[in-house]
């Protein structure tokens, strides 16, 4: 007898896959601008997922979360980063340590690892989709690949923001019952983190007149 996934599980897993695919697309995107737009798309999917979980589980607070994350992660943050790129007006193409094909291969490897690592826990739950958790883990790992392989501040920051998207997916499918105060605190914290990233990116750009991180090697030992 086969286990037939419910509509809820199917849709959440499908949206989680979309998040993972956009993470891969970011890894492939040569231009920093397109990377930011992909991040906006990914955040849109995450907001949609929040709204879907809210509707199917009747958790009204999650609508607030979906709305906030739509405003912040889809509109505000990409807008700010795109403005920084316009102002910087240098190195518009992203930089990578290795070629795109090898990067994708590594990413496939780590996401498979993440998928099977969660799978090997052998936990199954009726109400919570474990497959979506495994995909979220893969998103986090691919975000790490992105951050490690790119050598410019924009890619690294976007990599971190998309890692947060991966964790958001995990928290939506697994921990949607957390009280609202905690959710709002998370979101507020992320907002602050994003602002700080923005400030330090600007400081970096003003000090070094480049967005690249290759020259950040004075402090060592």
């Amino acid at each position: 007898m086969y286990h037939v996934p419910s509509t809820y599980q199917g849709v959440t897993a499908g949206m989680a896959v979309l998040v993972l695919l956009s993470e891969f697309a970011m890894l492939r995107a040569p231009l920093l601008r397109s990377q930011v737009r992909l991040y906006a798309f990914q955040s849109l999917v995450v907001s949609g997922l929040a709204a879907f979980v809210a509707a199917s589980k009747h958790i009204d607070e999650l609508y607030v979360l979906a709305g906030l994350s739509l405003m912040l992660k889809v509109i505000l943050v990409p807008g700010l980063v795109l403005r920084l790129l316009r102002d910087a007006d240098t190195d518009l193409a992203g930089s990578s340590v290795i070629g795109t094909a090898s990067a994708i291969l590594i990413a496939i490897g780590v996401s498979a690892f993440g998928f099977f690592a969660i799978g090997s826990l052998h936990v199954s739950s009726v109400s919570l989709p474990t497959s979506a958790l495994a995909i979220a883990c893969a998103v986090v790992l691919v975000a790490f690949v992105l951050i490690i392989l790119r050598t410019d501040v924009v890619s690294q920051a976007i990599g971190f923001f998309s890692l947060e998207n991966g964790v958001s997916v995990a928290s939506l499918v697994v921990a949607s019952g957390l009280p609202l105060i905690v959710d709002v605190a998370f979101l507020f914290d992320l907002l602050v983190a994003v602002v700080v990233f923005g400030v330090i990116m600007r400081v970096h750009h003003m000090r070094n007149e480049t967005l690249s991180t290759t020259e950040l090697d004075r402090l060592r030992g």
Binding site: A117, S120, L121, H122, V123, S125, S127, L128, L133, C137, V140, F144, I147, V153, Q156, A157, F160, L163, E164, V167, A170, S171, V174, A175, S176, G177, L178, P179, V182, A185, F186, F188, D189, V192, A193, V195, V196, F197, V199, I200, V203, H204, R207, N208, T213, L216, R218, L219, G221
Partner: protein
């Protein structure tokens, strides 16, 4: 008692807001007053929370473990406020005024986040508090606006945020582990988690614990995820370095202990101890080797912090109650010793205008008080009697020798001795070597300075730190000793 806890959680925040608007000369005194009052508040909690846990609403909760960390953080808050009064030189003009305001508001906000982290109830709120410490301290590392500072701040914010991303994932996995007991909707507070932990799914808890140690370990400075630490500590303004080193690292350790507390209930003591042992020994080894090859004074102290975090992790891995008692005492003693050492280095850096140890000679001659106190604090850091770290490391080793794996205790002693060698070699070279003005063939690149203290406030902050260390080493107050016993008892695996 509840009112006091709420006041502790609010006072530094109010102080941060107020200092943003006040002139710097008033902010200096206000910060000293608020810092001292929070320390007095923590001392009051020490006796007030005896034998019971105090909860305020569902948000704040104080048990013995929280009070231990609260004491370390508030002590350093007060001492740093006093030090900063003497250390910070604000240039005249609007630029200087802006800098001073930002600095004091940031300093108080940073201390607020550090005070709140041990007070909150639950893994989720703890994560939020520690994330706030990251964002505030990253801005404070960058505040000097030099090239080095911007490099250090970028590395710090990227690595610490990634670590906290992992820690958040670990928190969510812990929540997931709990859903099998409590259903899909519950609250991540400590009493709930500790009550249900025996029935959690062990594999999920195992994964959550390892990710928790890795994630919070990034902020604690465990090898191999410590790489931001020496940069941030050396490039930040000295008061911030002291807080990063003495308070921020141990607050992250506190988060690891909360994961530990749950994990030992689900998994038994063996697995969590092994994880901490591996991280701890690697950290201790790497830090003591790096201590032998430093030129920058603040980097030297930063690696010493990495070493002490290794000591905490190894101490927890011994698991005997006496070793855990030692670890908790070490948290407080390290905060006092590292703070004092950084204050001394701050004084030296102000005097000589460089952090490069090859250019600094005759430190004690130039700074008769803070130089001597710096040497004493470095001896304290190297676990010399009569200071508190001697007692704590002694207890850790004593606990380790009673463990079946007593070879680890032997390795521990060797590595700590190596670290002592590195730390004391460089310090005595810079501080106790003859004054370059008196030597005929003085090396041409050493810096010649006039004799005299930078500020009496700096000396005062160092005297307070060393007095606390002597007190901890010579006669441990009975109330503190009871508190540490209770906290160690809270961390024990259930029978």
């Amino acid at each position: 008692m509840s009112a006091l806890i709420v006041a502790l959680a609010i006072a530094p925040l109010v102080c941060a807001v107020v200092t943003w608007f006040l002139p710097v000369r008033i902010s200096k005194y206000l910060t000293v007053v608020v810092g001292t009052l929070t320390f007095v508040g923590a001392l009051t909690l020490l006796s007030g929370t005896a034998h019971r846990t105090v909860s305020v609403g569902s948000v704040l909760r104080v048990d013995s473990l929280s009070v231990v960390f609260l004491l370390a953080v508030t002590f350093l808050y007060a001492a740093t406020a006093i030090f900063t009064k003497g250390y910070l030189k604000v240039e005249p003009g609007s630029r200087g005024i802006r800098y001073g305001r930002r600095f004091y508001a940031g300093l108080n906000l940073f201390c607020w986040s550090l005070v709140v982290a041990p007070l909150v109830n639950g893994l989720a709120l703890l994560w939020v508090a520690i994330e706030i410490t990251t964002v505030v301290s990253a801005l404070l590392v960058a505040i000097d606006d030099t090239q080095g500072a911007s490099e250090a701040a970028w590395k710090y914010v990227v690595l610490a945020s990634l670590g906290l991303g992992i820690a958040l994932f670990a928190t969510i996995l812990m929540y997931y582990a709990g859903t099998s007991v409590f259903g899909a909707a519950y609250n991540l507070s400590y009493p709930t988690l500790l009550k249900g932990a025996v029935h959690f799914h062990p594999d999920v808890v195992r994964l959550a614990f390892v990710l928790g140690v890795l994630g919070y370990g990034t902020k604690m400075g465990l090898v191999p995820v410590h790489t931001w630490l020496p940069d941030a500590h050396s490039e930040a303004p000295t008061p911030i370095s002291a807080l990063l080193s003495g308070a921020l690292l141990v607050v992250s350790f506190y988060a690891i202990l909360r994961f530990f507390q749950i994990a030992v209930r689900t998994l038994g003591p063996a697995f969590p101890r092994d994880v901490l042992l591996i991280f701890g020994v690697a950290t201790l080894l790497l830090a003591s080797l790096y201590l032998l090859s430093q030129r920058d004074m603040k980097r030297l102290l930063a690696y010493s912090s990495v070493e002490h975090m290794g000591i905490l992790a190894v101490g927890m891995s011994f698991g005997s109650p006496i070793a855990i008692f030692g670890v908790l005492l070490h948290v407080i003693a390290h905060a006092a010793a590292k703070g004092t050492a950084f204050f001394g280095v701050g004084s030296v850096v102000r005097k000589f205008g460089t952090k490069d140890m090859t250019k600094i000679r005759g430190g004690i001659g130039a700074l008769p008080w803070s130089g001597a106190l710096l040497v004493a604090s470095v001896l304290a850091l190297s676990a010399m009697p009569p200071f508190g770290i001697f007692r704590s490391e002694f207890l850790i080793v004593y606990g380790g020798l009673s463990d079946p794996r007593d070879v680890v205790a032997a390795i521990f002693v060797v590595l700590v001795t190596l670290a002592f060698f590195g730390l004391s070699w460089f310090t005595t070279q810079t501080m106790l070597s003859p004054d370059s003005t008196n030597v005929l063939e003085a090396a041409s690149d050493t810096i010649v300075v006039v004799k005299g203290e930078v500020s009496l406030w700096i000396v005062a902050s160092m005297v307070i730190g060393l007095a606390a260390l002597v007190l901890l080493g010579v006669h441990l107050p009975s109330q503190l000793s009871e508190l540490l016993h209770r906290a160690a008892y809270e961390l024990r695996p259930p029978r």
